[in-house]
Structures are given as structure tokens and as C-alpha cells.
């Protein structure tokens, strides 16, 4: 699957066409290690040097190549967004597994699609770009990936129900931008905040995203 999506080019303030794809390979994981990780680490060092250690994203150490064995499992779906021939974001979904059940009381135990990992390129992250003396290049990459998760949920008959554990730095994004409901901290998952979409919230997000 390859679908055109629009993200915002901050250099012009205009939407530009990018490509959302689900045929993610180990080559894309290697690209994150070669193109993203050095910048993430460089930005993290700058933040430490300027006494802003708390702004270092908690995912700075992620290594997508460790997920290569998971590419063949039907329980997992990977999505990427490419623009200007560069990988702008990457996401791993699970359609079955221990986290694929709802926790919101009004939809408890129903099936959902779980966002296991999502990461956008460091040059699109405000904090990291600023640490490198730049402005974020693209906006809305994360939103397009969340949108893909909702569409996958609908495809799987989960009616838009999506759940995820958010890192502290992205909690505001999922709550305010995506409109997900914060359900509570999960002691089984580093005390991260669990957020969830009801079908109605997911539809509202899609309506706003279109």
C-alpha cells in the first residue's frame, strides 16, 4: 500500500504531498539508525550541555533494527512516511496481543489496535530541531501516522478504537492534538500514560485531519 498524504512544510507553511506506505523493510530500520539516530544523539548532547536534560526525548535510544524479526508476524503492521526521499516517520502497530484490549469503562475489553512504537524524524521534532539550531522541517507527520492507525483499526473491524502508551513528551500531543482520552498510568509499562480512542473520538480526529 502506498497512499499520498499531506504534511506541512514549515519552510513555506504550505502542505506538501508525502507518501504513506506499509511495505516497511529492514532497510527503513537501517535508515533510521544511519539518518535519525546520530542527529538525536547530537541534539541530546546539546540539551545536556545547556542544562536541559529534561527535554531529551525518552526514545533517544530506540533501535528499530531490533524489530526486524517482527516484520514477518501478521500481528504487526509497520507504516512509514516518506517525503523528499527521506523517511519522515515510522510506526509499528499490533492488531493482536496483550495490549489490544480497551481499558476505557464504556468500551472495556473490546478489541483495539495498539500503537506499539511511533517515531518521527528528529528534524521534525521541535525540541530536537531547536537543540540543533534549526526549526522543525515538517509538521503533521505524527498526526498522519495516528490517522493510519485509526484507518487500520476500522479495517480490522475495531471501529477506530486505538490505544497506546505515551512517553511523557508526547502526552500533550495525543491529548490535545489527537483528542485521545487519557485512561491512567500503567505500572506494567514504566508507568506510562495509557490513552485510548473511542470510535466517536477516532471519527472526530479523522474528520479534522481530512
Amino acid at each position: 500500500m502506498k497512499t499520498p498524504v499531506h504534511i506541512i512544510d514549515n519552510r513555506t507553511g504550505q502542505p506538501v504531498e508525502a507518501e504513506l506506505f506499509d511495505e516497511v523493510t529492514v532497510e527503513h530500520f537501517i535508515e533510521t539508525q544511519q539518518e535519525w539516530r546520530p542527529l538525536v544523539l547530537k541534539a541530546a548532547r546539546q540539551l545536556v550541555a545547556h542544562g536541559s536534560r529534561e527535554l531529551i526525548p525518552q526514545h533517544f535510544h530506540w533501535d528499530w533494527t531490533t524489530k526486524a524479526p517482527e516484520l514477518s508476524a501478521l500481528a504487526n503492521n509497520f507504516y512509514g512516511i516518506r517525503c523528499e526521499n527521506k523517511l519522515q516517520g515510522l510506526m509499528k502497530l499490533q492488531t493482536v496481543g496483550p495490549f489490544c484490549r480497551c481499558r476505557l469503562p464504556e468500551q472495556a475489553d473490546k478489541a483495539l489496535v495498539y500503537v506499539d512504537y511511533v517515531e518521527v524524524a528528529p528534524w521534525n521534532l521541535k525540541t530536537l530541531a531547536a537543540a540543533l539550531g534549526e526549526k522543525p522541517v515538517y509538521n503533521a507527520v505524527g498526526s498522519r501516522l495516528v490517522e493510519a492507525a485509526v484507518l487500520k483499526s476500522k479495517e480490522e473491524d475495531c471501529k477506530g478504537r486505538v490505544g497506546l502508551h505515551s512517553l511523557p513528551i508526547t502526552e500533550l500531543f495525543y491529548r490535545k492534538v489527537c483528542g485521545m482520552t487519557p485512561v491512567g498510568r500503567d505500572s506494567a509499562k514504566q508507568n506510562l500514560l495509557w490513552l485510548e480512542y473511542t470510535p466517536e473520538q477516532a471519527e472526530n480526529f479523522l474528520s479534522g485531519a481530512r
Binding site: A73, A75, D109, K110, A111
Partner: protein, 69 residues
């Protein structure tokens, strides 16, 4: 979306009742539920084939190994 193929599935009454019950509880179609079950089976099989073990853990952190045939 990947191309799909159709098959006929023969289930006993208890199996069909379970499928009805689970699809209602999970709020997905029976087809979606069976597709999830198949993926789960693949995930478990692959991990067991790699030499990993499958455990359930209760609230007191007691673990019970699940035997899979």
C-alpha cells in the same frame, strides 16, 4: 488492503457459541476475530520455535507456563 480469499468453516455448536460470545465481547465480526486468532497463533508459534516460553502472570506476579500443542 491485501486481497482476501473466502473459505467455508465448519464449527461445532460449542465452538460457534464461543465464536459468537467472543465476537460480541470484542465487538468485532466473527471473521475479524478468527483472523486475530490466526495471527496470535502465528505469534505464539514463532516465539516458541525460537525457544521462548509462554507465561501468564497473576496479580501476585506468580507465573504459570502455558503449554501449547
Amino acid at each position: 488492503m491485501a486481497d482476501k480469499r473466502t473459505m467455508t468453516l465448519n464449527l461445532t455448536d460449542p465452538e460457534m457459541r464461543l465464536l459468537d460470545e467472543l465476537s460480541a465481547r470484542k465487538d468485532v465480526s466473527k471473521t475479524a476475530l478468527l483472523r486475530q486468532a490466526l495471527r496470535l497463533y502465528q505469534m505464539v508459534e514463532e516465539r516458541l520455535n525460537r525457544g521462548e516460553k509462554l507465561f501468564f502472570e497473576d496479580e501476585e506476579k506468580k507465573k504459570a507456563e502455558l503449554m501449547v500443542v
